[in-house]
């Protein structure tokens, strides 16, 4: 189910502006990898290169290789659409489809990929909502609009929607930054469960969160405004937070800048 991601020499641009430069790393399957770093260091951009969402932005363009097990996402002939089906994504702000019900939201990705019998669809929706720890809260109102849920519930609905299509990898772009502490906790617990099944990459501004949920942590930084972001180091989360090998990481983590 889960795959390993192997990035080498990846550089991403917005038009002529180089957003991130020459990033290489490996993301282990069935683990949580957290990206931390100051604002503008390109961690979100890098995350979006992992499912080819970066090129959706006007002027967005990528050089380098991203291997998903043995397939390069950027090889010629690779369809971004099938990449995104394989690598799911959860966004900073919960974004359920406003005109769809809770059920339709979860089923949205499935309906794209083929025809399902109603009973099959119901089974998958239930399983996904259970997987997102949302089933008990919404099982009585599956036909109500998804936009009527609270922020935390909406975000879990989005996670359910993403895992319903059984992706190999789940990318999360600051999934808790728009949520209150209790909802955040719920999502963090959920991440702990989901890593049994998926390779998870999470961008976060909250270092405690990175320490709590992740197995490995990558620290990104940029030399100055307008400079491209770079990967400073990636290591076991414990090591990054106790004894990082680069001084800048320690400065950032102990709050001396950023």
């Amino acid at each position: 189910m889960a795959k390993r991601i192997d990035v080498s020499g990846l550089t991403a641009y917005y038009g002529t502006h180089k957003a991130i430069e020459d990033i290489s790393m490996t993301v282990e399957p069935r683990s949580v990898t957290a990206f931390i770093g100051p604002s503008g260091c390109g961690k979100s951009t890098f995350l979006r290169t992992l499912n080819r969402m970066h090129e959706v932005t006007p002027g967005g363009r990528v050089e380098g290789k991203v291997m998903l097990d043995d397939e390069n996402l950027y090889a010629t002939g690779v369809d971004p659409v099938s990449v995104r089906r394989t690598v799911g994504m959860v966004f900073q702000r919960p974004n359920p489809f406003p005109t769809m019900s809770i059920f339709e939201n979860v089923a949205a990705g499935l309906k794209l990929n083929g025809s399902y019998k109603k009973s099959e669809l119901e089974g998958i929706v239930e399983k996904s909502l259970k997987g997102a720890n949302l089933w008990n809260e919404v099982k009585d109102r599956l036909n109500k609009p998804g936009a009527g849920l609270s922020g935390g519930q909406q975000q879990r609905l989005c996670i359910a929607r993403a895992i319903a299509v059984e992706p190999q990898v789940l990318l999360m772009d600051e999934p808790c930054s728009a949520l209150d502490p209790i909802s955040t906790l719920a999502i963090e617990d959920l991440i702990g469960e989901l890593k049994e099944r998926f390779t998870i990459v999470i961008v976060t501004h909250n270092m405690q969160q990175a320490a709590r949920v992740s197995d490995r942590t990558a620290f990104f930084n940029l030399a100055g405004v307008g400079q491209p972001g770079k990967l400073i180091e990636i290591d076991e989360t414990e090591r990054i937070f106790s004894n990082p090998s680069v001084q800048a990481t320690e400065d950032y983590i102990s709050g001396r800048f950023g």
Binding site: N51, M53, V56, P58, V81, S82, V83, R84, R85, T86, G88, M89, F91, R93, N95, P96, F97, P98, T99, M100, A108, G109, L112, N113, P145, A147, G148, C158, R161, A162, V165
Partner: protein, 328 residues
């Protein structure tokens, strides 16, 4: 204190001291002026309905035909015989043709500008479409009569060859100044305005809804179907209604293109028919008092139709807003 505030209108800031007389008087005058303008607008609308009704009633009482069902517009003879049946038919048919052509094409162009065109092309195209929305209708009429009409004969012959058996598309070699031509011209006229409004709505689709669909592995078309069109539906409806309103009431362009004969033709391609606005324009110059009233009566019907269309559009939009606006 509380009893003091209650009687003052909530729209004014509660003044502590009544000594600030200038402010209060100024506020009152200004509020009066602006509220008065709003009321004036309502009065105008009411007056349009009232004045037209008065003249229409007098005309209909002079009518020796049936106002609704008579297939004739003879207001120069005495007694007058006239009815709006042909006009209702012509107005509705030409508008429906216009909508059937214009709405899909306009939505297509709007999507082209917002989602398909390369950026370098999208901006100028959008700009030009906006400018075209401002081209006066008489210019469309002139172009329609002198350029479009002669160029449609071939197409109509072709339609006749293949679809002539339906009777609707029968064509007998006249100059094609028919309801179908009117429909095409009206479609061309309203495409810019429908495009402008739809494009504006599509542009407001939150990026995050589109990204949600993309991240699920949707193709571009699926993104549009999942997030853009549902979000824009009420906008498309309101744009279409705006276009429909124009098509229903369009006068000069129709008057220049149509050759009216006051008959309901089975064929849409053969010349003939008429619309409310065109009928008024064509008969006005030779109309005397009572004949003018007859035209006013038909104008009242047009007014009511456009009122209904617009009112319906507002209701649809108001109801849609509650649903889709919530999370936006």
């Amino acid at each position: 204190m509380k009893t003091d505030i209650e009687p003052t209108s909530p729209t004014e800031p509660p003044a502590l001291a009544s000594s600030r007389g200038t402010g209060r008087i100024g506020d009152k005058v200004f509020l009066g002026l602006s509220r008065g303008s709003g009321i004036l607008l309502l009065v105008i609308m009411a007056a349009i309905a009232a004045f037209l009704t008065v003249r229409a009633v007098s005309a209909i009482s002079d009518d020796h035909g049936n106002f609704l069902t008579t297939f004739e517009w003879n207001t120069s003879s005495r007694p007058m015989v006239f009815g709006i049946a042909v006009l209702v038919y012509g107005t509705i048919v030409s508008s429906i043709i216009a909508m059937l052509i214009a709405v899909p094409v306009a939505v297509g162009i709007a999507l082209f500008i917002s989602h398909y065109a390369p950026r370098r092309l999208a901006t100028p195209v959008a700009y030009v479409i906006d400018l075209l929305a401002a081209v006066p209708s008489i210019v469309y009429g002139l172009w329609g009569a002198l350029f479009l009409v002669p160029h449609l004969t071939g197409l109509y012959k072709w339609l006749d060859d293949y679809l002539g058996w339906t009777k609707i598309f029968e064509y007998n070699d006249g100059t094609p100044r028919s309801l179908f031509t009117v429909g095409i011209l009206l479609a061309i006229m309203i495409i810019p305005i429908v495009t402008s409004v739809s494009r504006e709505v599509f542009r407001q689709v939150p990026q995050m809804h589109e990204e949600a669909a993309l991240a699920l592995g949707a193709t571009r078309w699926e993104v549009i179907r999942m997030s853009v069109l549902p979000f824009g539906r009420s906008g498309i409806i309101s744009a279409s209604m705006l276009g429909l309103g124009r098509a229903l009431g369009e006068t000069m362009a129709v008057a220049t293109v149509l050759s009216p004969n006051y008959l309901i033709n089975a064929s849409l391609l053969d010349p003939g028919g008429g619309t409310f606005a065109q009928n008024i324009a064509s008969h006005f110059k030779e109309a005397d008092g009572p004949a003018r009233d007859a035209l006013i009566a038909s104008g009242l019907v047009l007014f009511v139709i456009t009122l209904l269309v617009n009112g319906a559009a507002r209701l649809i939009i108001a109801r849609r807003k509650e649903y889709s606006g919530a999370a936006a």
